[in-house]
């Protein structure tokens, strides 16, 4: 059982973080990126061609994270692989002891720098969760046996900030039905929409069936906030937040303050099982933000506990 599964199953608060994309530099680059975050982060996401831009494969990076002695969450998207390739990568992950998988549909190829690519989407994100569950049950999709069966701890993503807002919690429930046990929520700059999602998830019991982990992005520049506001599908940034960074004497400090405010707001919601961070700072931004939020370092949480409000 992965340490992420053990922690979430025993109601421990978790901190997950996105490992910046890896293009070159090998294992040394993975170590360099991990080190500043390591004291606070329970598991690192290895992304899968984010925003439809090619980088090192999530399986290779997840193996590297494990070799570095850290806990990986391997992301898999449906955009670039048919079901056979997805099965192969899931089985390859299991072979290397990678159990935590985050299943996504994926941004469209038009979001990337090679928009002429053929999009695959042989499965959708929910069917990918179900496929991984089938493998975990000791079968390939065809019914062919796998012995011993791999063990997976399955997760997915949901976007509280994208319409239809009323449907998003039902979609989260559908992901739980398919076999997902954690949801790393998409960045949500509209606090009222995160509130609406978390409240509905709490009232319908969804947050008890699936661990909800809101995401916080630590940006550092006007270019960064403008990119998130206009270049990332499904993320709606209120113009006043963009204006705040544009007006600021020190954009990096302003971005950090915004991340702190959004994280504090997210932590105050019912049924939060952890936080997921994406940092674009050159320094230990995640460690600084955790310290300011009063989230103890990982080792301290592991020995003394720091409870989230719900169980799986």
């Amino acid at each position: 059982m992965s340490s992420l599964e053990r922690k979430l199953a025993s109601r421990q608060f978790v901190v997950t973080a996105e490992l910046p994309v890896i293009d070159g530099g090998g294992q040394a680059e993975i170590l360099r990126q991990l080190e500043p975050m390591r004291p606070f982060v329970d598991a690192f996401n290895a992304t899968d061609n984010p925003s439809a831009h090619a980088h090192c494969s999530p399986l290779a990076v997840a193996i590297g994270i494990r070799q570095a002695g850290a806990e990986p969450v391997m992301q898999l998207v449906c955009r670039d692989r048919n079901r056979l390739a997805l099965e192969a990568d899931l089985m390859g992950a299991a072979m290397h002891g990678i159990e935590s998988i985050c299943c996504l549909t994926g941004d469209d190829v038009t979001a990337g720098d090679e928009p002429e690519t053929r999009r695959v989407f042989d499965l959708d994100g929910i069917q990918l969760i179900a496929l991984a569950r089938v493998l975990g049950g000791g079968r390939y999709m065809s019914g062919r046996r796998i012995s011993p069966a791999p063990h997976f701890f399955l997760g997915a993503v949901e976007n509280p900030g994208a319409p239809p807002f009323d449907y998003r919690v039902r979609r989260a429930a559908k992901k739980a039905l398919a076999g997902a046990r954690f949801l790393q929520l998409q960045l949500c700059y509209r606090t009222e929409l995160l509130e609406r999602f978390m409240r509905a998830a709490h009232e319908t019991g969804v947050s008890e069936r699936i661990a909800l982990i809101p995401s916080i992005c630590i940006l550092r520049s006007v270019t960064g906030i403008r990119f998130v506001a206009s270049g990332v599908p499904g993320i709606d940034v209120p113009p006043e937040i963009v204006a705040r960074v544009e007006r600021a004497a020190d954009a990096e400090t302003e971005c950090f303050d915004i991340a702190y405010e959004l994280a504090s707001h997210a932590l105050a919601q019912p049924g939060v099982s952890g936080l997921h961070f994406i940092s674009f700072r050159k320094d230990a931004g995640i460690a600084k933000l955790c310290a300011r939020l009063g989230i103890p370092p990982r080792i301290e949480r592991e020995s003394n506990g720091y409870s989230a409000s719900v169980a799986l």
Partner: protein, 133 residues
């Protein structure tokens, strides 16, 4: 495909293409998706809207087009029948049925056949619901 089956496929396409933009996937789920064809979604998603829906309810891929699943959700809420079906877990598309008549596949039960492994995924109602491992 027999001549009769081909004729039926043509007839089905002639009826359903102008109304729903039918793509002839051969395993129609229109009634479960608010009478909105999910195969007209650029990502051909069968289980609901992706996370890329724009703030105005339009498609991530085609900004000029309303999200297919926004329409599917709104319409399914207004349907007198099958309303809860939108929450069902729909199995992967069977690509061998592409171009065949879903009417014929409905009658023969072929559209409800799923890969043997899928039964482990505990599908909900709809295509594949009655298939156990």
């Amino acid at each position: 495909m027999s001549a009769a089956a081909r004729l039926l496929a043509h007839a089905e396409h002639a009826v359903k293409q102008p109304i729903w933009g039918c793509q002839m996937c051969g395993q129609c789920v229109l009634h479960s998706t608010g009478m909105t064809c999910p195969m007209t979604c650029p990502k051909t998603l069968r289980n609901g809207p992706c996370g890329g829906v724009r703030a105005d309810g339009h498609c991530e891929v085609k900004p000029e087009m309303a999200c297919v699943w926004m329409k599917a959700y709104e319409r399914s809420e207004r349907l007198p029948l099958w309303r809860g079906h939108i929450d069902d877990l729909r199995p992967p598309v069977d690509n061998t049925l592409k171009g065949t008549s879903s009417w014929l596949n409905l009658i023969s039960g072929r559209d409800r056949a799923v890969p043997a492994g899928w039964g482990h995924a505990r599908p909900g109602r709809g295509a594949g619901a009655d298939v156990e491992p």
